[in-house]
């Protein structure tokens, strides 16, 4: 064996290497974090009075419902077509308009692309408010303002999309390498020109991929917001549920499942091609 001994040999330490650092003690902090998490969960459990026995107790009531749910009535299919189409249309319009409007707003909401501090703060504050309101609440508001139907659904989806897209794309812009932008500014371009020529191409694949993701979210969301009257399959679900027509309901659920699966296949195929 050579003079430079194998690791582990007691005499292997290089001269002048200095003292090795002692291993930092991290476990006390971890124990505290874990204890806090357990405490919060336990407190929530007790506070909302979760009683698992209720499930077993009420199971006999559910039996009949479950039997109906597992026997979808396919003859109902014809009546679901129109609401199904409306759900897709609402989702498409909401996505198209929401994502189109979100693009310029994303550039205004990113520190990397908007040098105007007050404007940046204003846009970010407004977008935080837009994003903090859940889609179902938007739907209930719009149903009271413009009435039940697809229009309230589209408006809710639009704001729902705006919140998500501006957040995701402005954060993507924050993380992009700004070299191209610096070069454009150094060549006498305006900020708008530099952002368009050097920053947009860098986030374009993410923008397309997020748009497809948002379309997927919208299909799911548009079924839910229908429950409060904002059009689409959700309104149908609300109707059949009210009359305890669970074999109809199960067909609608089945359709949503198929639709979401198809969309997911499509979106993952497209995104795989984009992210390279």
């Amino acid at each position: 064996m050579s003079a430079v001994a194998a690791p582990g040999a007691s005499a292997a330490r290089l001269p002048g290497a200095g003292a090795r650092p002692s291993r930092p003690r991290r476990w006390p902090a971890r124990v505290v974090v874990l204890a806090v998490l357990v405490a919060i969960t336990a407190w929530s459990w007790v506070a909302v009075d979760v009683d698992l026995a209720v499930i077993a107790h009420n199971f006999s009531n559910a039996q009949n419902t479950l039997v109906q749910l597992f026997q979808p009535d396919y003859s109902f299919f014809g009546e679901t077509l129109q609401p199904l189409l409306e759900t897709i249309q609402m989702a498409v319009i909401g996505t198209a308009v929401g994502c189109a409007v979100s693009l310029p707003l994303s550039f205004l909401a990113s520190r990397a692309t908007n040098p105007n501090g007050p404007l940046l703060g204003f846009v970010r504050t407004v977008m935080n408010v837009v994003r903090s309101i859940p889609d179902l609440l938007y739907a209930s508001i719009f149903v009271t303002v413009v009435g039940t139907g697809a229009l309230s659904g589209v408006l809710s989806l639009f704001l729902f999309n705006l919140g998500i897209m501006v957040k995701l794309i402005s954060e993507a812009l924050d993380g992009v390498d700004r070299g191209g932008q610096e070069a454009a500014l150094a060549s006498g371009a305006t900020w708008l020109q530099a952002d368009r020529a050097a920053m947009l191409p860098e986030v374009a694949p993410q923008y397309v991929s997020q748009t497809i993701y948002v379309l997927e979210l919208n299909i799911r969301a548009s079924t839910v917001i229908g429950l409060v009257g904002a059009g689409g399959l959700g309104m149908l679900i609300d109707r059949v549920r009210t009359f305890y027509q669970y074999h109809y309901l199960s067909l609608v659920i089945l359709e949503i499942l198929v639709l979401v699966l198809l969309l997911e296949l499509l979106s993952s195929a497209v995104r795989k091609r984009l992210v390279r």
Partner: protein, 292 residues
């Protein structure tokens, strides 16, 4: 490559601009002093190498010339810096005083000053051609730049710039598919598309291997010689500075400690600039001549 194939084409020679520093000081917001009382004049069409240790102010010096770094006091003039005004018959371009230059006037100056960066600074997810066209943004209306509807003349100019750095066959490749040396040549083409009067190069070869470094330096040298564009280039490697610069400016702690012909700089002047003896790490190619 001869200059004649570019005659009459879009990349025609314009008179290079002169640059004059008068008692320029730069103090950064954190209190760090980048430049101390720098006074010097760079003649139109000169090729100047700026050398010094990192932190000596090389980058600051170069970046004050296009206003990327604002000067704290003093004055920088870009354009006509001759004492008696423009010479007879000389088609003098605009002259800019940087201390008060803001907004549209600053953008106009920047359109006449091209810049090459250490890290190439390309938009990596778009084509080489689109990157070169960035050099035409200043002359392109906003609606055209938003739509990407470039003028045919500007596309032609960009193609000629790519031909000049011998990389036109990559025009429609994505910038990310190119090697470092190729990316830097695209960046040089981008400055050429500006039809600049000055090219600033901030450590243009620091991210490249030695053979590629020479290719890029020769490109800059040829552009200076053939097109008459004033070139100011920051270099860490002393042998490159002596080989490609006509004139060398040595900076140490923000002050000019050497200013003279690059060829005259011997080992003692270089040690004066660096404040220590030279090592093999100060030169690009071994065996280093300066160490003999």
């Amino acid at each position: 490559m001869s200059g004649e194939q570019f005659e009459g084409a879009g990349l025609r020679t314009r008179t290079g601009a002169g640059i004059r520093f008068e008692h320029v000081n730069v103090t950064y917001p954190n209190g760090y002093q980048g430049l101390r009382d720098v006074s010097l004049t760079i003649e139109p069409g000169e090729m100047v190498a700026v050398v010094g240790l990192s932190g000596a102010g090389k980058s600051t010096l170069v970046r004050t010339i296009n206003g990327l770094v604002p000067i704290t006091s003093g004055e920088i003039t870009v354009g006509d810096v001759s004492d008696g005004g423009p010479a007879d018959g000389a088609a003098a371009g605009a002259t800019y005083r940087l201390s008060a230059l803001r907004g549209a006037a600053q953008r106009r100056l920047r359109s006449e000053v091209g810049m090459v960066f250490q890290s190439f600074n390309l938009a990596r997810r778009t084509t080489v051609l689109n990157n070169v066209l960035v050099g035409r943004l200043h002359h392109t209306p906003t609606w055209r730049s938003l739509l990407g509807a470039w003028r045919a003349d500007d596309v032609e100019l960009a193609m000629q710039a790519l031909e000049r750095v011998e990389i036109v066959q990559k025009a429609y490749s994505n910038a990310s598919e190119l090697s470092g040396g190729q990316q830097q040549r695209v960046a040089i083409a981008r400055t050429l598309a500006q039809q600049p009067r000055v090219i600033l190069a901030d450590e243009p070869v620091a991210s490249l291997d030695p053979p590629t470094s020479h290719v890029v330096m020769r490109d800059l040298q040829r552009i200076n010689a053939d097109l008459g564009i004033t070139v100011v280039v920051n270099l860490h490697f002393l042998d490159l500075a002596r080989r490609y610069g006509q004139r060398m400016i040595g900076l140490r702690a923000g002050e000019v400690v050497y200013d003279g012909p690059a060829a005259d700089a011997d080992e003692s002047t270089l040690e004066e600039i660096y404040g220590r003896s030279l090592t093999a790490e100060d030169v690009l190619d071994a065996p280093p001549a300066v160490l003999e």
